[in-house]
């Protein structure tokens, strides 16, 4: 199918076919990173601006590498040093960046829906690199790409997402994507970290980690985000590790042959043991490598076609 969207804001609005198109395109881009010259001229002359209102190393660097491998010019706007500190609004910042003839704006923001607001106000292609607790589409896409690479097909897989579901945009995007592609999704967390009515997204809910991961094909371990909302009553880290941490013993009890994913950065000894993170089930570093291919595909698809799309 042909890609027709100007922006990538989330997986909720994408069709199954659109998600498959991104994953297929990413497979072609993965080959580019294995070449001696890891660069193609597909976005030569285009400018990609990374506009990050929240700290991020992994995602920003991944987008930067992806854009550079497409021969685009990359500008990183560090919010600490920008005019935002002087009270400039999001839309004004976006318009100013666009006035510099930026073609693509990759944005991370702490407010849900920020990327969608910006996308409406600028002609540049907008890629959501995480907005509040809403969506983180490229992370979910790279998770699915990795799963597909490992298993051959997403359809029919059983995937458990375990961790702070309530505050996780990664969980939300993964749920949209995986269910659209026909996987069965189980979310698992302490009760207080499961958002109300999450079942309406088509997932099963559990607060028992051992039961939740029994017989699954993959477990996607979310980071316990202690820095995001300190007032929320997080269970003690040790207690969390005891009840929900992904350890070798827990994996073994659940059936053993389970792919372990994590969007990073990992907290060893909190949500995952070192043994598992570095062990044979872990595909955590492959996720990082695949993230470049997936982001190349997204940048190529949104920026590669004609202008004035919806």
């Amino acid at each position: 199918m042909n890609w027709k969207r100007k922006d990538l804001l989330g997986l909720e609005e994408l069709s199954r076919e659109e998600i498959v198109a991104i994953l297929d395109t990413a497979a072609s881009f993965k080959e580019v990173s294995t070449r001696e010259i890891k660069k193609v001229p597909a976005l030569r002359g285009k400018t990609v601006v990374n506009l990050f209102y929240e700290p991020s190393t992994r995602t920003r660097v991944s987008f930067e590498v992806a854009a550079k491998r497409l021969s685009a010019d990359v500008i990183n706007v560090a919010i600490e040093t920008s005019s935002v500190r002087k009270g400039e609004t999001l839309i004004d910042t976006g318009r100013n960046i666009e006035a510099l003839k930026a073609d693509v704006i990759v944005m991370r923001h702490s407010s849900s829906g920020a990327a969608a607001i910006l996308a409406k106000k600028v002609n540049a292609n907008v890629v959501n690199a995480g907005d509040g607790w809403h969506e983180h589409p490229t992370q979910a896409l790279l998770d699915m790409f990795t799963l597909k690479e490992k298993t051959g097909e997403i359809k029919g897989l059983k995937v458990c997402i375990i961790g702070d579901i309530a505050h996780s945009r990664v969980a939300r995007s993964n749920i949209w994507g995986l269910t659209k592609l026909g996987a069965e999704v189980i979310v698992c967390a302490p009760r207080m970290l499961i958002p109300p009515e999450i079942e309406k997204m088509g997932v099963k809910v559990s607060s028992n980690a051992d039961k939740a991961i029994r017989g699954v094909d993959a477990v996607n371990v979310l980071r316990m985000q202690f820095e995001r909302d300190e007032k929320t009553a997080f269970p003690q880290r040790l207690e969390y590790y005891k009840n929900f941490g992904i350890t070798k013993e827990r994996l073994h009890k659940a059936g053993g042959n389970i792919i372990v994913m994590h969007p990073g950065p990992i907290n060893r000894g909190v949500e995952i043991s070192s043994e598992v993170a570095d062990g044979p089930n872990s595909v955590i570093l492959e996720q990082v490598t695949n993230g470049i291919a997936v982001r190349m595909a997204v940048l190529f698809l949104v920026a590669g076609g004609e202008k004035n799309r919806t």
């Binding site: 080959e31 590669g304 076609g305 202008k307």
Partner: protein, 185 residues
């Protein structure tokens, strides 16, 4: 798409004979046969390259390494074509440095595909020589590029479309000229 007139230019047997002739020509021009590698341009160039490979094997008893090139990322019309083209695989899993690369395509037209393919190949290494093999040359070059091995020259008007159909993708081996459908795909 309506009932546009199709004229068959080449039938299966002719295509078969042409590929054998071109394989002989490749061997004739490249005395050090072990240096020959083939690279087919997606999609039908890939099938033609595999046939040439088999044919060289029949003639000389050696199987030249054969790769696949998708030139999408190197196109000069990515924004002009409007919608994003479907990206296919590139797979060149051998060293092309110091090799005689024979680039294989189905229809030779503006030369822009060849230009993109040359740029992409150069990013894979520094071949000793690159040659171009095409099944059909329909003219109308827009770049100073020529082919080294030509199956058949077919004079066309810009309004016509040349379509190469191969068993691997289309279930039949033939080359047809379609009237009035516009030359550009």
């Amino acid at each position: 798409m309506g009932n546009r007139e199709e004229k068959k230019i080449l039938a299966a047997e002719e295509i078969h004979r042409i590929l054998i002739r071109l394989s002989h020509q490749i061997l004739e021009k490249n005395p050090k046969a072990s240096d020959i590698v083939l690279v087919g341009i997606q999609t039908r160039g890939v099938y033609l390259a595999r046939r040439v490979q088999a044919s060289i094997n029949d003639i000389a008893g050696l199987l030249p390494p054969t790769g696949i090139l998708d030139i999408t990322f190197y196109r000069d019309d990515l924004t002009a074509v409007g919608l994003n083209p479907i990206v296919k695989t590139t797979d060149i899993n051998f060293d092309i440095n110091e090799k005689h690369v024979v680039l294989v395509d189905d229809v030779f037209f503006t030369g822009r595909t060849t230009r993109a393919a040359l740029d992409e190949l150069m990013d894979f290494g520094r071949p000793q020589k690159i040659e171009l093999l095409v099944l059909v040359d329909r003219g109308h070059r827009e770049l100073p590029i020529r082919a080294d091995f030509v199956g058949k020259n077919i004079p066309t008007s810009l309004k016509e479309q040349v379509e190469v159909r191969l068993k691997e993708s289309d279930g039949v081996d033939e080359v047809v000229v379609i009237e009035g459908s516009g030359g550009y795909k």
